[in-house]
């Protein structure tokens, strides 16, 4: 033990067993039938099953809509919070981030109950509202951090050079905060596209999302099909991640 590099060994072994191997197992289980023989039938089954495909498309749609709504609602909030004209009280900013620390299931149930009491029927509309409500803080937070750290002199210079406030925002501030928007997109899109339980509560089990199908298959011991669906989800996640990295670098 002369070099501290050997301190890596325990965590390396841990990562291999609990991170790498499980992901390989998703692949292995996904490509096997119940008897342990290699097959592609799990994958083809998904692409020939209309219901699964429809659920998959709906999950993507809901996740994209939630993400867009979060940007549209969250960006102005983050902008005001970080703005110069606003009395920069850390407490107000903290109030927006606080809901992140309360159990998501609890918040979701409270939202669903509130809709119930107000007599609003649970369905796609309430699902979207609830998801935006759940994940809005995750969009506001990175944008707020980026905007409050941003060097204000860029905006000042643009203004001095004759840009209208409108131009300053769209040509200077917005492009500079693009990496933060992508962080927000990752933090909202990934959990919403993979969500389960939350969607059940917000729609009273009327709408099933992709996460729910994975859970149902795993829980009813259909491990191979469950793994195949997880593999598909993993592909979506990887694509999102790669895309967002490209966008971040492109700034």
């Amino acid at each position: 033990m002369t070099k501290k590099a050997s301190w890596n060994l325990p965590y390396f072994i841990f990562l291999m067993i609990f991170v790498a191997l499980p992901l390989v197992l998703i692949l292995i289980y996904a490509l096997q039938d119940g008897q342990g023989h290699f097959t592609l039938s799990t994958i083809t089954r998904f692409f020939s099953d209309g219901d699964s495909l429809a659920t998959f498309a709906l999950s993507l749609e809901i996740a994209i809509e939630t993400t867009i709504l979060c940007i549209l609602i969250g960006y102005p909030a983050a902008w005001i919070l970080a703005g110069r004209s606003f009395n920069k009280s850390a407490v107000t900013a903290a109030l927006f981030i606080l809901p992140m620390w309360v159990n998501a299931l609890m918040r979701t149930l409270a939202t669903a109950e509130l809709f119930n009491m107000l007599g609003i029927g649970l369905g796609k509309g309430t699902l979207l509202c609830g998801m935006v409500y759940d994940y809005l803080p995750f969009m506001i937070y990175p944008i707020y951090v980026s905007l409050s750290k941003m060097d204000k002199s860029y905006a000042d210079v643009a203004e001095d050079l004759g840009a209208t406030p409108f131009q300053v925002f769209f040509k200077v501030t917005l492009p500079l905060s693009k990496p933060a928007i992508w962080s927000g997109i990752l933090m909202v899109f990934m959990p919403t596209v993979s969500t389960f339980a939350i969607s059940e509560f917000l729609t009273n089990n009327k709408i099933k999302l992709f996460g729910t199908i994975i859970q149902e298959n795993i829980n009813s011991s259909m491990w191979n099909y469950g793994a195949a669906l997880s593999l598909l989800m993993l592909v979506i996640i990887c694509l999102t991640k790669v895309l967002s990295e490209d966008e971040k670098v492109a700034v």
């Binding site: 909030a77 004209s85 159990n103 998501a104």
Partner: protein, 266 residues
């Protein structure tokens, strides 16, 4: 005018964000079994929560499990994560990138993927799923955050601190406990708190790795309860209390930071 508009926007947003929580809080002070039905002021639900919950409905048991799992996972991941960060700091080139890449995976993976993949691992290794598998799973997704919390302080630390302590006659254990660890304490504590709250909050990973022995944490209890139709009324005061504790902690922390920055300016 513009300022007023901005403030109104924030106020409306905050009101909407907090409406469900306030709603739960208000209705924690009435006895009605159905949420949204006011049957007069009462603190009975709070009394039930503290004095009777354990007997009938297993809520107290679930709370207990949640805290045991969170403490164990946070403790283990703080140790593992600190050791990992110390090792990682001395790595270079592709080895370092590989470790960092692996460390990032549990943070990027959605809960459901972490849950399913670990479920398959325990299935594959024929490990009976229960307390141990849940704690191992929680360590898996908590440790990366500890590594990231400890790393900045490790980088700030004088690179040869450990060797200098050895040269000055400290035994390796002394150099570690008396010299290195005290300098990392801040990062380790914030890592521990982060790991603890992540574990408390978790639903999906616990759900997939808890097996069939009937282990319930707060999240899985709420899930099962809500699926049965109708939330146990005692959950209302519990949610209110948890929320208040978090709110107070956060406000105290922020006020202290504010005061310190004002002091620094003065």
């Amino acid at each position: 005018m513009k300022k007023l508009l901005c403030k109104t926007y924030l106020a409306i947003l905050l009101l909407l964000l907090y409406a469900p929580i306030i709603f739960i809080g208000v209705f924690s002070f009435t006895e009605s079994k159905v949420l949204g039905n006011w049957t007069g002021f009462s603190t009975e639900l709070y009394e039930n929560l503290f004095f009777e919950a354990g007997s009938g409905n297993g809520l107290l048991r679930a709370i207990e499990n949640t805290f045991i799992i969170a403490l164990a996972a946070a403790f283990a991941s703080t140790i593992l994560g600190t050791v990992a960060a110390m090792g990682l700091k001395n790595l270079k080139g592709y080895k370092r990138r590989a470790m960092q890449f692996m460390n990032n995976i549990p943070m990027i993976n959605p809960d459901i993927i972490t849950g399913v993949s670990l479920f398959l691992l325990f299935l594959f290794l024929h490990v009976t799923q229960g307390y141990v598998s849940v704690i191992l799973a929680h360590i898996t997704f908590c440790t990366p955050y500890v590594v990231l919390s400890v790393m900045p302080q490790l980088i700030q630390m004088e690179p040869n601190t450990y060797e200098v302590a050895l040269d000055l006659g400290a035994r390796p254990s002394q150099a570690l406990w008396k010299v290195v660890i005290p300098q990392l304490k801040g990062g380790m504590i914030s890592g521990f708190i982060l790991a603890f709250t992540m574990s408390l909050d978790d639903f999906a990973v616990t759900f997939f790795t808890r097996g069939t022995i009937g282990l319930e944490t707060l999240s899985t209890y709420i899930y099962a309860d809500a699926r049965k139709g109708g939330l146990t009324p005692e959950l209302r005061p519990l949610m209110t209390l948890i929320f208040l504790v978090v709110l107070i902690l956060l406000l105290v922390r922020n006020i202290r930071i504010n005061r310190n920055t004002t002091k620094a300016k003065a």
